[in-house]
């Protein structure tokens, strides 16, 4: 499992939560907030990602990620 695999998981779950993004070309610099995810959406996306990776990380440690790439990096470091 590399960082790009984690990125793809985040993207998949983002599209689960916000189906209108399914045709969006996601990049590492994309911010979930700027893509239209509210705070509840963002926490659900992160939790769904952690569940599908079977990784237990307190959400507070992932809160500082400013974009999807950074989020993938933080999760990768803790796997």
């Amino acid at each position: 499992m590399n960082k790009e695999d984690i990125f793809n998981k985040i993207v998949a779950h983002t599209c689960d939560v916000i189906p209108t993004l399914k045709d969006h070309q996601f990049s590492f610099q994309d911010s979930l907030k700027n893509l239209g995810a509210n705070s509840i959406d963002r926490t659900d996306i992160v939790m769904m990602t952690l569940e599908s990776l079977s990784v237990r990380i307190p959400l507070i440690e992932l809160a500082k990620a400013e974009n999807i790439g950074a989020l993938a990096g933080l999760i990768y470091e803790r796997m």
Partner: protein, 419 residues
């Protein structure tokens, strides 16, 4: 046809989703044909399925009627539905129909209210979710923190439809749907809002509630396990409890002045209503409590019992419940009125029942026809004006809807047709 004065309270829109049809058109057709949909329930989480090497397998066969092929209107965004329970999804779909029927887009949102009748109506969704995360609770969706609340449906409805007056839930057990209508009527009558939506929400029970209802003797037993279509028998000598039926009913209550300005022809006006408590926490019915509610509703409506020509009873199929209710109806001098059993076709919607049955009454007013009662082969008391296995052509003028709930809740509502 009854003319509506400006200070009258009227019904200006309806919406219905049930196991016998989604939407007023489908529902009406099935109702008038007496076409039920009872079977061994199949929705995930509705049956007990326990087996271990130490105990024999325990597999239940609870009977009920379940909604097939729910259609969610396009105006409800998919993103909203993701974390919405089944009850909420059905509620949104049903509200959509009632909203359009009443033309509520014409009213200032701050003058529209919403009362959702029902509590603990998301049980099955919650049971399934908790079972799924029983051993890995760390992955529980954060959104559960808002979606488990009954009031989540208020958030969902008011974010999908411009309702800005007020919105809350109200719990009255199996009388919830009618309690919501009475609360909506009071909100309009006091001028708090001009239109108030009353929803009898779908009670999405799990196998836990089914098991308890059956053990309590409230839900029908296994007597008809192999003949589900014959199981639901309100007021019949072979009745043995209620049979669950998924449903959701939405009734729009409005002041006649607002409806008249909009040139919206109402279904009926609310002549009078009442609630009476038994002072009893238990599920057993009370002749005294029911009689008080019926008489108080007639008094509030300022109408003599002889002027009522149709009754839609609570009529669940409970042995003691059916008998007590007929005694109360007789005591109030109402056994001349036509009477049929909506639950025999639709099932018992629990929190939804009261609203669904008001809608059934309004439909019958509009169709000028009374729907049949199925499985009423041998009434426990034949000295009532039963509509049995065939529909009856009749224009309802004044009706009485009875809706009762565990915990000694008795409600009654008199309607006068505006058709």
């Amino acid at each position: 046809m009854s003319e509506c004065r400006h200070n009258d309270i009227v019904v200006s829109g309806i919406g219905i989703t049930s196991a016998i049809g989604q939407g007023v058109k489908q529902f009406t057709e099935a109702l008038m044909q007496g076409r039920s949909n009872f079977r061994v329930m199949e929705r995930i989480g509705r049956q007990v399925n326990v087996s271990s090497s130490e105990k024999p397998a325990l597999v239940s066969k609870f009977l009920g009627a379940e909604i097939q092929n729910l259609t969610i209107p396009d105006r409800i965004p998919e993103s909203l539905l993701r974390t919405a329970s089944f009850s909420s999804q059905v509620g949104l779909a049903t509200l959509c129909e009632a909203w359009a029927d009443a033309g509520l887009h014409e009213i200032d949102p701050s003058r529209i209210g919403l009362v959702v009748g029902g509590s603990n109506f998301q049980q099955r969704d919650i049971v399934l979710l908790q079972a799924k995360y029983n051993h890995n609770i760390e992955f529980l969706r954060p959104s559960y923190g808002m979606s488990f609340l009954d009031s989540d449906i208020c958030g969902l409805c008011t974010s999908s439809f411009p309702i800005a007056g007020f919105a809350h839930t109200v719990g009255g057990a199996s009388a919830s749907g009618q309690v919501a209508i009475l609360q909506a009527a009071q909100a309009v009558q006091t001028g708090q809002v001009d239109a108030c939506i009353a929803m009898g929400v779908l009670m999405d029970i799990s196998f836990w509630e089914c098991q308890a209802f059956q053990s309590l003797g409230a839900m029908g037993s296994a007597n008809y396990a192999n003949e589900p279509a014959r199981a639901c028998r309100p007021f019949d000598q072979d009745h043995d409890g209620f049979i669950f039926g998924e449903s959701c009913g939405v009734v729009v209550i409005e002041n006649a002045k607002s409806a008249n300005i909009r040139e919206k022809k109402p279904y009926a006006k609310l002549l009078g209503w009442a609630t009476a408590m038994d002072g009893n926490r238990n599920p057993n019915p009370s002749f005294t409590g029911e009689t008080r509610a019926l008489k108080a509703a007639l008094k509030h409506a300022n109408i003599d019992a002889s002027c009522l020509d149709y009754i839609n009873p609570h009529g669940t199929g409970s042995v003691i419940g059916d008998e007590t209710e007929l005694n109360a109806i007789r005591e109030c001098g109402l056994n001349h009125a036509f009477i049929n059993t909506t639950k025999s076709i639709v099932g018992h919607g629990l929190t939804a029942a009261g609203a669904v049955e008001v809608i059934a009454t309004l439909i019958q007013m509009k169709e000028k026809r009374l729907h049949p009662s199925i499985n009423l082969d041998n009434p426990i008391d034949d000295n009532f004006n039963w509509v049995k296995q065939y529909p009856v052509e009749h224009q309802i003028k004044n009706s009485l809807n009875i809706s009762l709930g565990f915990g000694g809740i008795n409600t009654a509502l008199c309607l006068q047709s505006c058709i």
